[in-house]
Symmetry: C2
Subunit: 239 residues, 2 copies
C-alpha cells in the first residue's frame, strides 16, 4: 500500500533500565493508523549522543517522517536537541522566540529561568517550534524529524499539534473476530485467505480464556469493502 | 562500565499498528539489569523478512547478545525463524528433535500436528533449542541471538531459561528519591554531581502530584558504595 511511512525514536536510559514503560509508541501508533500513516519501525536508544545521531540519521533516511520522544528537558542528560542538530549538521543555540516562551512561562509560575532551564530554548538552526501547552518548553520540527517531550501528556499534546501538518493516506482500518480454536487449527485457511486478499494483512493472536484456547483474528487494510468480504470468510473459520 | 551489552528486537505488525502494547522489553530490561547486562537498544519491526534480517544483522554485530520476541507461531506471518536463518546465511528445515517435542505435545493435548503447526519445528542449522514450558513450540539460540515467543508468559519463561547461560556483570544497581522541586531547580546541582561521580548515571523525571511539581531522581551504577555516597548528596538537593 502506498501510505506514507513513519518511525518512532524513543530516547532515554529510563526505558532501557526498565524503570519506565514506554507508552508513547503505542499512542503514536494508533494516531498514525487513523491518519493513514504507516508506523514501520520503532527504536529505543540511551541518552547517548552517538546513539541518537546514528538512529536519527538511519530513520530519517528510511521513512517519510520520524517522531522522537524524550531528552528535551533541562538536565544534563537531556541531549536530544544537540544530538538532532549534530545529525543534521546544523548549528544550535538559544533561540529568542523559544526563550520568550520560557520567560513568559516562568514569570507566570513564579520560578526563575535559570541557566539549566534556558537549555530548553536551544533550537537547531532552521527548525520550527512545536507548541507545549502543558509546561511551555517547546519541541521542534527539523526536516522530517519531529522532536517531542517524553512525558506522555506533553508528548500526546505535541502529536496532536503535529499530525494535522502531515500528509496522511487512506486510514488503516482493522476488524477483528475471536474464534474458539487454536491458531494452529486455522493457520492453513488463514494463509489461503492472505493469498486471496493480497492487499490486506492478516494477523492471528492466540489467547487462553477460562482455560480454553482461542485466537483473535485481525485483518487490516485501507479498502473497507475488501475488509468486509474478508471478515465474512474469517467468521466462517469459526465453524 | 564494562558490563556486557544486549539489544532487544520485537517483531510484529500488532505492535506497530497499536493493537498490542509491547511489555516484553520492560520485562527483559529489568531481568538484564539484575544480571549486570546493559540493555543498550530496542527495536520494533514489522513481520517483514527484509526488515527482520536487517535488524538482526545490525544488532548482533553491535551488541554481545540479542533477544527477539514474536513471529515463531504456526501462521503465515510467523517468519522470524526463516528470517534469522537468512540473516546468518544458514539453511533452515524441520528438525527432528523439535518435531518430537511438538508431536508429544499435540498427542497429549489431543490436537493434530498439521502442516502449519509443523512450521514451528523449523530450526536454523546450528541452533540450540530454548524450552517452552507453556505451549511446547521451542525458541532457539543461534550465535548470539536468542529467538523467543511474543506471548508474554512464554517470553518470560524463555528469558528465565536463557539468562543463566549468559555471562553477566556486576548487577546494575539503582536508588531513587523524590524531591518536592521541579527538575529545572536542581538541574545545575545534578549536573555537578554527575561530573563528580562519572561512573554513575543520574536521571531526573518530573512528576505532578496533588497539583505540585516534583522530581524523581534516580542514580544507577555498579558500585554500591558510590551509590550510597551519591544518594546522600542527592538527598541534600531536597533542602
Amino acid at each position: 500500500m502506498g501510505n506514507p511511512t513513519a518511525a518512532m525514536l524513543v530516547i532515554g536510559d529510563e526505558i532501557l533500565s526498565g524503570r519506565t514503560r514506554d507508552t508513547n509508541t503505542n499512542h503514536l501508533a494508533k494516531e498514525l493508523a487513523n491518519r493513514g500513516i504507516r508506523l514501520c519501525e520503532a527504536r529505543v536508544v540511551a541518552d547517548d549522543q552517538d546513539a541518537i545521531v546514528a538512529a536519527v540519521n538511519a530513520l530519517r533516511g528510511a521513512y517519510d517522517t520520524v517522531f522522537t520522544s524524550g531528552g528535551i528537558g533541562p538536565t544534563h542528560d537531556d541531549i536530544t536537541a544537540d544530538a538532532v542538530a549534530a545529525a543534521f549538521g546544523v548549528p544550535i543555540d538559544v533561540r529568542e522566540d523559544a526563550r520568550a516562551i520560557l520567560e513568559a512561562h516562568y514569570q507566570r509560575t513564579g520560578f526563575e529561568l535559570n541557566e539549566m532551564r534556558l537549555r530548553m530554548a536551544r533550537i537547531p538552526e532552521g527548525a520550527t517550534l512545536i507548541d507545549n501547552p502543558v509546561s511551555a518548553a517547546p519541541g521542534f520540527t527539523l526536516g522530517n524529524v519531529h522532536v517531542m517531550a517524553g512525558v506522555p501528556a506533553i508528548f500526546e499534546a505535541m502529536v496532536a499539534s503535529v499530525l494535522p501538518t502531515l500528509t496522511g493516506g487512506d486510514p488503516l482500518l482493522s476488524q477483528m473476530i475471536d474464534i474458539d480454536r487454536g491458531e494452529g487449527e486455522i493457520a492453513g485457511k488463514l494463509k489461503a485467505l492472505a493469498e486471496k486478499f493480497p492487499d490486506l494483512s492478516f494477523g492471528s493472536y492466540p489467547y487462553q480464556r477460562n482455560g480454553a484456547y482461542g485466537t483473535q483474528l485481525v485483518v487490516r487494510g485501507t479498502d473497507g469493502g475488501q475488509l468486509d468480504r474478508a471478515m465474512v470468510e474469517l467468521a466462517a473459520l469459526a465453524q
